[in-house]
Symmetry: C2
Subunit: 203 residues, 2 copies
Amino acid sequence: MQKNRSKNETKRKQILVAATELFTEKGYAATSMDLIAKQADVSKQTVYSHFGSKDDLFAAAIEQKCDSYRMLDFSLEDFSDINVTLLEVAKRFFTMLTAKETLAVHKICAYECKSYPQLSELFYQAGPERLTNEVAHLMAMLDEKGALSVANPHHAAVQFLTMLKGEAWLRIEFNTKKQLTPEEIDDYICATVAMFIRAYAPH
Amino acid sequence: MQKNRSKNETKRKQILVAATELFTEKGYAATSMDLIAKQADVSKQTVYSHFGSKDDLFAAAIEQKCDSYRMLDFSLEDFSDINVTLLEVAKRFFTMLTAKETLAVHKICAYECKSYPQLSELFYQAGPERLTNEVAHLMAMLDEKGALSVANPHHAAVQFLTMLKGEAWLRIEFNTKKQLTPEEIDDYICATVAMFIRAYAPH
DNA sequence: GTCTATATACAGATAGAC
DNA sequence: GTCTATCTGTATATAGAC
């Protein structure tokens, strides 16, 4: 029985991995159950016996991805130099944001938010909301230490994070022919951190 | 012949209107040619004789939408008060950005950018790129007049526009249950314009 | 040029053997 | 629990009458 159970879990995992990859890569409609079964190296019936329907499998795949975002930790230790601190946060944020996988989940949640409101809600909470709260917390701390003068930490966090996306993120989102070079991106991020610090410099 | 031609154009337009509405509303895959024909009040064969295939009709619909964005004009006349000027630009931008239709085209272009790269490119140029250039031009002018001190107008424009999207836009994009009230949005926009002016205040 | 009717393909989901 | 084979609906696209 334990052996069967183990085998079940293995196949279930294979299916989930294949489904996640295909859904995020090709989208919901363009991904067929046949293809998922083939890629997971199981029969289609096995897919159905594990997940019931295409809708349920889709939900399971995206939910799992959202859960994985909860693990990410942006907490810092070093607060001696505000410029260094914010630059580090900015770069971590940008790297995470532009990861191929993150972008794919972002897109599919935004696109399917009418059909699957619970999924987009989940993504929003695990991604943007959680991050904003973390950064708002950081802003409040910097205000308390006198490193910055932030009357509204939440506003500041939103401003900081949205600005960082910048042109680079938009170009990736729309897959434009021209893409920014790492140097251009770095320039922009540095300039933006500096601009943010100027705006919230203590009096 | 002129009469026939006229009739053609009328039906063609009906089809295009119906297709645009359905594609942007329901997405590419979920929109069937039968439904388009029904909503346009013509037969399916008429749809095909006018547009050849679903792909071509989709491209025609989105291209037309992108073209319509080129018409939008953000130019201003009054530059006496920098705060008033930027606030006006900010509000116009935000209103346009969160219009249901704009958002729908944005989403579908981002989602289908792998299958239809020419469409997302078109949208990017007609939307984000054009707007950024206009605002960059404005920033350069404000710098020249001494109202602001902007070393890099393009960076400043990107920062200004991306910041304005803020939490409100993300919540609309993901259709979260909680949405920001007009008052909250107004607060954020005012605070953000003020923050921007602080960051680029002349020495 | 426009319609009704049809061909063809493929998707999601199920039946039944092992 | 897993497989092969099949059912059923629906989508794109086309044929042929008017």
